[in-house]
């Protein structure tokens, strides 16, 4: 319904994306492979980790019992995870204040771009686990936070940047220093690494899975990224190596543009970037420090922003993973605005 209102689109359900069909197929193959102990299935769509696709396959299997079409089952799971992300943000912001929690929840729940791309299965799952990770980290449940951080990474690889930065900054700016902070970091990091390696067969030794997982991962990643380059620094290397003057100029231009031009058109697709910008200006004016919740949210934002800047593949829907931090910050500043107006009247 919200989708129809925001986009003046009479269709309640969005058009089918080829990725959706791909993930349903990949998830089913992974599940079948796991049941038979045959890991060759994981070579299919190896550029993404398997967790989100396996969850999709489980959802499709469950939906099959009540004769739901596979696509609908998948979208029900994505919608549920998206809604749970909003609830988790509410619970996290309750640690600051009830008013901020309500504002944050409303801002994220009604965010047009999150609704529009609610079918971006991997990103939705990653965002949900990142939200849970932030909540556990702020609640000081470190080992569990490490496990959930691993699950976020198993949903989509860029999550690792947000997880690592959140853990580093929250622990570094916490109440402990030196060896104690390092110990705490290890308590988060050990389960994180363990879950990633256990949960992703492509990272297992070739003696177990019967092929070189890393080679498959490299090959799959290269085929989906622009010019086979993972980061835009490859354009510079290629440009410097090239003996053809025209090719050299084109490659160096590409490097320069990727370096300096950030691609997200999300300022025209959502109100959250605007409210976040206003929030940053407001904070700069008031010169107030960051709470633990805000530090975790800002580290999440920084980690993903930097990864999405570096990688050469650019998708409009990637931006939905940045929305919970933007909503959290916007809520804090908006609550001050509403409070001031209330006092004035």
């Amino acid at each position: 319904m919200l989708r129809s209102i925001w986009y003046l689109d009479p269709r309640l359900l969005p058009a089918v994306n080829t990725d959706e069909l791909l993930y349903i197929s990949a998830g089913s193959q992974y599940l079948a492979g796991l049941q038979r102990g045959n890991f060759t299935a994981f070579q299919f769509n190896a550029e993404h980790p398997p967790l989100s696709k396996i969850l999709t396959a489980l959802s499709v299997n469950l939906g099959g019992y009540v004769r739901l079409p596979a696509l609908i089952s998948m979208r029900i799971l994505d919608a549920a995870l998206g809604a749970l992300t909003c609830m988790l943000l509410f619970v996290l912001l309750l640690r600051v204040s009830r008013k901020i929690a309500y504002i944050g929840w409303i801002l994220l729940a009604a965010d047009p771009i999150s609704i529009r791309y609610a079918t971006a299965s991997l990103d939705v799952t990653m965002t949900f686990f990142l939200m849970l990770f932030s909540f556990l980290l702020v609640s000081r449940k470190y080992p569990l936070a490490g496990v959930v951080g691993g699950l976020a990474t198993l949903s989509k690889y860029p999550a690792i940047a947000a997880v690592m930065l959140s853990a580093l900054f929250l622990l570094a700016s916490g109440d402990v220093r030196g060896i104690q902070a390092l110990r705490r970091l290890a308590v988060v990091g050990f389960p994180l690494v363990l879950v990633i390696f256990i949960g992703d067969p492509i990272l297992w030794p070739s003696q177990i899975i019967g092929y070189s997982g890393i080679a498959v991962l490299n090959s799959a990643t290269s085929s989906t990224l622009l010019g086979g380059a993972t980061t835009f620094f490859s354009f510079l290397a290629e440009g410097l190596r090239s003996s053809n003057a025209q090719a050299q100029m084109n490659l160096l231009q590409f490097f320069g543009l990727y370096l300096t031009v950030f691609y997200f058109p999300f300022f025209t697709s959502s109100y959250l970037p605007w409210t976040f910008s206003a929030s940053l200006l407001d904070r700069a004016r008031r010169r107030v420090g960051l709470s633990q919740v805000e530090t975790a949210m800002l580290a999440w934002f920084c980690g993903l922003m930097l990864v999405l800047w570096l990688i050469t593949k650019k998708g409009d829907y990637y931006v939905i993973t940045l929305m919970p931090p933007l909503a959290a910050f916007s809520a804090t500043s908006l609550s001050k605005l509403i409070g001031t107006k209330g006092n004035a009247t």
Partner: protein, 119 residues
């Protein structure tokens, strides 16, 4: 290769030296760098989408050095503005931390050099 590693190492030492000299906690200073860059990219996306017409239109256009120059100018301006914002957000009062945009550019150049050798 050794030269690039030496440069990266010296930038880390430089970072610690700034932290010591400005009496800013190292954790806050380390936070300032990715935050400055992230906010700069965020601001960059507004200006580029409003004034230049978006990433795709630039990349798909025939090569025009003016595009790149304008993009670079906007990017550097965003880094300076976001550095000021981040200093205020993180309540960093020391004037030394204002050097962070220069440090960022220095790190970018070093990372570029390193990546070109490693690739």
């Amino acid at each position: 290769m050794l030269l690039e590693f030496a440069l990266v190492l010296s930038s880390a030492v430089f970072l610690v030296a700034i932290a010591k000299a400005s009496k800013v906690p190292a954790s806050r200073l380390v936070f300032a760098i990715p935050l400055t860059l992230s906010v700069a990219l965020f601001l960059d996306s507004v200006l580029v989408s409003v004034y230049v017409g978006g990433f795709e239109s630039i990349v798909n256009a025939p090569f025009r050095p003016a595009n790149l120059s304008l993009a670079t100018l906007i990017f550097v301006a965003c880094i300076f503005v976001s550095s000021e914002l981040v200093c205020r957000i993180l309540v960093i009062r020391s004037a030394l931390i204002r050097a962070s945009p220069l440090l960022l550019i220095l790190i970018l150049i070093m990372v570029t050099a390193l990546a070109s050798r490693l690739a």
